[in-house]
Symmetry: C2
Subunit: 245 residues, 2 copies
DNA sequence: CAGTGGTCTAGACCACAGT
DNA sequence: CTGTGGTCTAGACCACTGT
């Protein structure tokens, strides 16, 4: 039974289970462990690393949740025969693109404090007429328009008045203001572009677009933001890994 | 601190943590606990229910993963201010629709054992030319065409030759044959319908469609199925709940 | 049968948030 | 400071799988 080298630093502030998961994940990505390989059982791992079994379980569970490992009772734990794609996380498109090294720019079409219409109000769970910030942007990647993004943020959450959204993403801003997004509900669909949208996104009129509606909640369970985004399907797709538990 | 009534049955085969999570979830859905409510702390719960703290944690974690609760260190655990939608699970459209009480029918357009083309072979991780079952269906809801579904299943996984897919879903079939889907990778996008697709789905030519590509892996990490589906965006959208951990 | 993961206990110490 | 969740230990028994 192959056991990749795992070294723990007990003086590190990084939790033990996370250190284990990290190094196991690297072993899989580097190909030290390949599809279908069975890894040693939990007890053996715990023994070898000098951690308790629950801690080792937690490490393995992290990778199971990421879709990289599969557990079968009475059998063992195996590496999934699958190309590892990024799992869906609670990040913004801006973060995604910057991380992958693309040059992104943003055109701000609209930023204003307005009374909430029925749509945004319903989604944010606030009364119609509540002051909300309305933000509309076009996101470009290497010059090409990629997404047309409309967002609403209740004025009670934070003040967007002085923010330069050509330089800062909305989610990045939330982080700097200690607003921690924790849960989001998304609906993804498709529809045809209208005249304005096709012009802004540089596609033909009546071309297909990917639509994404999202409401995000922070760590006190409060609705913080509603997004209504349109993506060019030739430049963007939505990838997820599903895991049955 | 409000604590809904939770009753445990220690003789039940249902794990304790699951019994707790179930009843807590019901309390939230029934409105006994509402958005923003703080629930009692883990130790108090464990004490009252007579279970250990790790068990209670596991119960709460289940609901956190579902996006119904939010934990904050030093503060407590709160109910998320969000409409509860179904979280994404590893189920088929057929299951989804049957569960919501709709009348679904299926037209089988094609079911054949063929050598794998490059596309399906790549996705399934098998050599080009490997025998695979090719299945093409139209799913209807209350008579209306909803989805055009093309699936590929390696012949080595199971025999689809005698299956009546007008009466049985593919995922349902897998379950009856003890093939347990555990991980899937999905890509969701949009494109225009071509002539054949628009005819089969009952939409205008060059109408927008939602596309879904999915590869599923079973509990030994083996690629079991590749799906290439097209959905009518007026009848179907893809909803998810994202949770940051 | 032996080996595996699934569940559970009864504690412990720590980091962080709010008072 | 107190109270909270985050991490961790060192065991235990059980259910399921494959031989």
């Amino acid at each position: 039974m192959f056991q990749p080298q795992v070294v723990l630093d007990r003086s590190s502030p990084v939790p033990l289970y996370f250190q284990v998961a990290e190094q196991l994940e690297r072993a899989i990505r580097d190909g030290d462990l390949v599809a279908g390989d069975r890894i040693a059982n939990e007890v053996a791992w715990a023994d070898q690393l000098g951690v308790s079994r629950p801690t080792m379980r937690q490490a393995i569970q992290l990778l199971v949740d990421k879709g990289m490992l599969v557990r079968k009772r009475g059998v063992g734990t195996q590496v999934v025969q699958a190309p590892i794609r990024r799992t869906v996380e609670l990040t913004s498109l801006y973060d995604d693109l910057r991380r992958t090294g693309h040059h992104t720019t943003t055109d701000v079409l609209d930023l204003a404090l307005v009374p909430a219409d029925e749509g945004p109000a319903t989604r944010l769970g606030c009364p119609v007429g509540t002051p909300v910030w309305r933000l509309e942007r076009v996101r470009r990647v290497d010059g090409q328009p990629l997404a047309l993004m409309r967002n609403h943020v209740p004025a009670s959450v934070t003040d967007l008045g002085d923010v330069d959204f050509t330089a800062t993403g909305l989610y990045e801003l939330f982080r700097t203001r200690a607003i921690h997004l924790r849960v989001a509900h998304q609906t993804i669909c498709a529809r045809l572009a209208d005249r304005r949208e096709s012009r802004l996104l540089g596609v033909k009129v009546a071309d297909a677009l990917l639509t994404m509606e999202r409401t995000s909640y922070d760590d006190s369970g409060r609705a913080v933001e509603h997004a209504d985004h349109l993506y060019r399907p030739d430049l963007y797709s939505y990838e997820t890994t599903l895991v049955d538990r």
